[in-house]
């Protein structure tokens, strides 16, 4: 039988606010345990939540970006369950009335475009962390993360393969970073994925029973976990078994999913509207305000980069993979007056390679866009050759000097004095009669030898165009 997988993703994005969703404690990552858990986060008796405006703004921005309906009226509810990393014994979340309704995201898998529905996105508070290192057989609880704002983005069960799921997840990852609402750091848990997976015979309408795979923390693992789960379910059914609705964990070491300790009772979260919080009203004015801050979105930017700069798909994909990189590139183009394709080659080539080697992000680049533009400007006005530029770039990477300062200090300026070039060419022709003979008898390849000799003699500072032209004249 031919099987079809049905996949939906629930993605928890930590919103990049300074303070928590309901308290004034810091959300900074990596602090000493419980030093960023204030009275509200600890759920001390008598404390009350007050909603962070920035979290609402970010949720609305996301809703607008996926062309979803932003709810004019949304409600926070209490989700009741006991767990030591959940200080109040309930999580403040949104249930019946989420802030973002139905929207969509377009993905592209192997050149095939597909629209994936986003069922909803709702605001909620993150829980703390349980540390399972051994404290005399006990578990330690760190509540620094408790109260960090989350936007839980729930997709429709629209994906049919692990590849599509990963494409959707990547697209979402790119989008939330573009919007500046999430840093996307998966190691730190800023972007976490749960996958709902089921299988059904191809052509069948009804969904199969699904399993939920919890907390998969990389794109690679999402793909592997889903593929494993699809196989597991097919094998199970084909061998006469039945898929049970359950929560499973992905074990990356063994590359398999396993059932979580079976729950003693079915979850009964007893959701009800949180009486400590009032309905959140997002009016047209607020929406318009947020909309005005909407950055250019990835798809639009990609199209524009192709149209405006004449870039190919590959360079475009790299340059638009993050907003800071795209911004850097555009700044370089603007400031250098250099051809866009050359700028693109530099940013995706030498600069990216150097950043990679040093493990740096574009935002931490030691060579700022002003400095790189300064270098590329010297290529475009023929002050230096591309080859010399690479040398200058290395200098720039190590220090703080501008391209002009390095060119000046090292005397790397291209020699455009035709007299000087002519003298050297004459000398080389005189010293290599054999090669001159070969060239004149039709061996064009030898031409490269002369160029090399001239450039060597001139330490690479001659304008290659000029050298070519003069050599050709002289060798006639």
């Amino acid at each position: 039988m031919e099987w079809e997988a049905v996949i939906g993703l629930e993605i928890h994005t930590q919103l990049a606010t300074k303070s928590k969703i309901f308290s004034g404690a810091s959300t900074a990552y990596g602090a000493e345990p419980n030093t960023q858990a204030c009275a509200v986060d600890l759920g001390l008796p008598g404390v009350l939540p007050v909603l962070n405006e920035e979290a609402v703004r970010m949720a609305v921005l996301f809703g607008l970006a996926i062309e979803a309906e932003v709810a004019p009226y949304s409600v926070f509810a209490r989700k009741n369950y006991f767990y030591p990393d959940l200080p109040k014994g309930y999580q403040i979340s949104q249930f019946e009335l989420p802030i973002v309704g139905l929207g969509h995201l377009d993905i592209d898998v192997d050149g095939v475009k597909k629209r994936v529905g986003v069922t909803r996105a709702h605001l909620e508070e993150d829980a703390g962390k349980s540390l399972h290192e051994d404290f005399h057989g006990l578990t330690g609880i760190d509540l620094n993360r408790a109260g960090t704002p989350l936007l839980e983005i729930v997709s429709e069960p629209d994906m049919r393969s692990a590849k599509e799921a990963v494409a959707y997840m990547r697209k979402l990852h790119e989008l939330v970073r573009y919007l500046g609402i999430c840093d996307g750091n998966m190691q730190e848990g800023s972007f976490r994925c749960d996958a709902n997976v089921s299988v059904r015979p191809k052509g069948q309408q009804a969904f199969g029973t699904r399993a939920e795979i919890k907390n998969i923390n990389s794109f690679r693992f999402v793909e592997k976990a889903i593929n494993y789960e699809i196989e597991r379910q097919i094998d199970l059914i084909e061998s006469g078994g039945e898929v049970v609705q359950e929560t499973r964990l992905y074990d990356a070491d063994k590359d398999q999913t396993r059932s979580m300790r079976s729950k003693e009772e079915a979850n009964d979260y007893r959701y009800f509207p949180d009486p400590d919080l009032l309905p959140v009203v997002v009016d047209e004015a607020f929406k318009a305000q947020v909309k005005a801050t909407m950055p250019e979105l990835p798809d639009a930017k990609k199209q524009r980069f192709k149209d405006q700069y004449g870039l190919d798909d590959e360079s475009t994909a790299i340059l638009t993979s993050s907003r800071p990189l795209a911004d850097y590139f555009e700044a370089v183009v603007k400031e250098s007056a250099c051809e866009a394709r050359i700028c693109a080659n530099w940013v995706t080539g030498d600069l990216s390679a150097a950043l990679n080697r040093s493990g740096l992000e574009i935002t931490d680049s030691p060579v700022s866009h002003e400095r790189l533009a300064g270098l590329l400007a010297r290529i475009s006005d023929n002050t230096i050759s591309g080859k010399i530029a690479k040398q200058v770039f290395e200098e720039m990477w190590q220090g703080t000097a501008s391209a002009d300062e390095i060119i000046e200090a090292k005397g790397l300026k291209q020699i455009t004095d035709t007299g000087a070039i002519e003298a050297i060419i004459d000398k080389i022709i005189a010293n290599n009669p054999e090669q001159v003979e070969q060239y004149r008898s039709g061996k064009d390849k030898v031409f490269g030898f002369f160029v090399g000799q001239v450039m060597k003699e001139m330490q690479g500072k001659a304008n290659p165009g000029e050298v070519n032209k003069m050599l050709k004249d002289k060798l006639k």
Partner: protein, 483 residues
């Protein structure tokens, strides 16, 4: 000295007739002398004397408020930094609050002196103060009678002169009913008027803190300090606070009083009915017009209240889990055991009953039938009040069906206890302000008149109560032995 009004005491402090330290010491002595009433869970003697000394300095410098140096007491539901805050429960018996409730902070700023923390029904769940882990409070008018609840310690302390005035909280009548039973003046403000920050939650959409005092004037002075917007409480209302004392003397001629016929039905004790009738007559003499109004959905207030309050409390009390503060059971076997035993051993029977009730009402399959239904009934009751208050200025009626009942009389029958809250509970569902003030005595025990006003009409209620207190002396009577 213990029977004087706040303004008289403030005058005495300013004129040097007595110091705050002397006044405070006098109250501390009385608290010891009458400890058998069991009004206080914690007496903060050293802290009180320190604060009194600071108040004397402040008075000497001339920047005192009316409450500077006045010994008051806090219901033990308000968090007080560095002072044990139990909410009447074993589960918080070791809880030294690490922060101050907004209300406590405001009294500190006003310079009042805190004598201690007052006894109450556990987590404010009760109408008799008998559910307290610290034992029942005795009514100073009749030591075998309950003081009312849940702010029973507050009411009894003020009535017995063990504090000049006290804070209370009212979720279904917990200020008004004990005020009525102890013969003092208590006001439950409009929901959102007084910050709930640091006030340990019972039922968040119903809880409201308010003043409990010897007179409407004293209550006005307290409310002036307590009321106001608090950015830490999302449900706090950002409206200016009027000068509550300024309007006390306004004449009330032409006042339109509504008497809901449902308040005077079969359940009301006839002697209590006579007290209310006499009080209404007094108002008639002051120029008020009386009109009958109707609250057709009133009888459903009790079921609606117990669904909503139980549901909210079932979640509010989940934080007491033995992990971060409060009682933890000995040698938990595993996590479930830690939760189950800490909570099982830490909570009393009435609290457990309501947590179970609320958990059930919210659980899958019952949510619509109970919780949503109760919220709909809540709106209908609220609409009844809105309609009545569009016809009259205030609504008057009894606070409780009878005077204070005996200790132990109803504790075995929770439903009967719940039904005694019939006249107060609906007001919390609607979020309206209401007060109780002494209007007579039945069988040697005081009986209060309830006055219910429109949203944010606290100044009006205080004015109306004050006018009554100018022509009657019920509020000045003290129980025998406490004169």
């Amino acid at each position: 000295m213990h029977n004087k009004s706040i303004t008289d005491l403030a005058k005495g402090l300013r004129s040097g007739e007595f110091s705050s330290v002397e006044l405070t010491q006098a109250f501390l002595n009385r608290i010891k002398q009458h400890s058998s009433l069991n009004c206080y869970i914690t007496v903060t003697e050293d802290l009180a004397l320190q604060e009194a000394k600071a108040a004397d300095d402040r008075i000497a410098k001339g920047d005192a408020t009316l409450l500077t140096g006045i010994p008051i007491a806090q219901k033990d539901i308000f968090c007080t930094q560095g002072v044990k805050t139990t909410c009447g429960s074993k589960i918080l018996d070791n809880f030294i609050a690490p922060y101050n409730a907004t209300v406590v902070e405001k009294f500190n700023q006003a310079g009042s002196v805190m004598l201690g923390k007052l006894n109450m029904d556990e987590f404010a769940m009760g109408s008799s103060n008998e559910t307290s882990y610290y034992g029942a409070v005795r009514n100073p008018w009749d030591h075998n009678a309950i003081p009312g609840g849940s702010s029973g310690g507050s009411a009894a302390a003020v009535a017995a002169g063990l504090a000049v005035c006290a804070t209370g909280t009212d979720t279904g009548g917990s200020i008004r009913q004990p005020a009525s039973h102890c013969g003092i003046t208590g006001l439950k403000p409009t929901y959102g008027r007084v910050s709930r920050y640091g006030m340990i939650a019972y039922a968040s959409s119903l809880d409201q803190g308010g003043p409990m005092a010897r007179s409407a004037e004293d209550a006005a002075i307290m409310l002036q300090v307590m009321a106001g917007f608090d950015e830490r409480d999302s449900t706090s209302v950002d409206l200016p606070v009027p000068d509550y004392r300024a309007g006390l003397s306004n004449p009330i001629e032409g006042l339109k009083i509504g008497l809901p016929k449902e308040f005077f039905g079969a359940g009301l004790n006839s002697d209590v009915a006579a007290v209310i009738e006499a009080a209404v007559n007094e108002y008639r003499k002051l120029g008020a017009h009386i009109k009958e109004v109707s609250m057709p959905n009133l009888k459903l207030a009790i079921p609606a209240y117990y669904v909503i309050a139980s549901a909210e409390c079932s979640a509010n009390l989940s934080r007491f889990d033995g992990v971060r503060y409060g009682y933890r059971c000995a040698n938990p076997e595993d996590l479930t055991d830690l939760y189950t035993r800490s909570r099982g051993e830490g909570f009393g029977k009435e609290v457990k009953r309501r947590i179970l009730m609320g958990t059930y009402a919210l659980s899958a399959g019952y949510y619509d039938a109970y919780y949503i239904k109760a919220q709909k009934v809540r709106r209908l009751i609220s609409d009844d009040f809105k309609k009545a208050l569009s016809e009259v200025d205030v609504i008057m009626g009894p606070v409780a069906p009878s005077a204070a009942f005996g200790i132990g009389e109803k504790i075995g029958n929770p439903i009967e206890m719940y039904l005694s809250d019939i006249y107060t509970i609906a007001i919390n569902l609607a979020g309206l302000p209401a007060m109780s003030m002494p209007a007579g005595v039945v069988g040697g025990k005081p009986v209060g008149l309830q006055i219910i006003g429109n949203y944010f009409a606290e100044h009006r209620l205080l004015n109306i109560a004050h006018q009554y207190q100018q022509v009657t002396d019920w509020h000045q009577q003290s129980p025998k032995g406490f004169e």
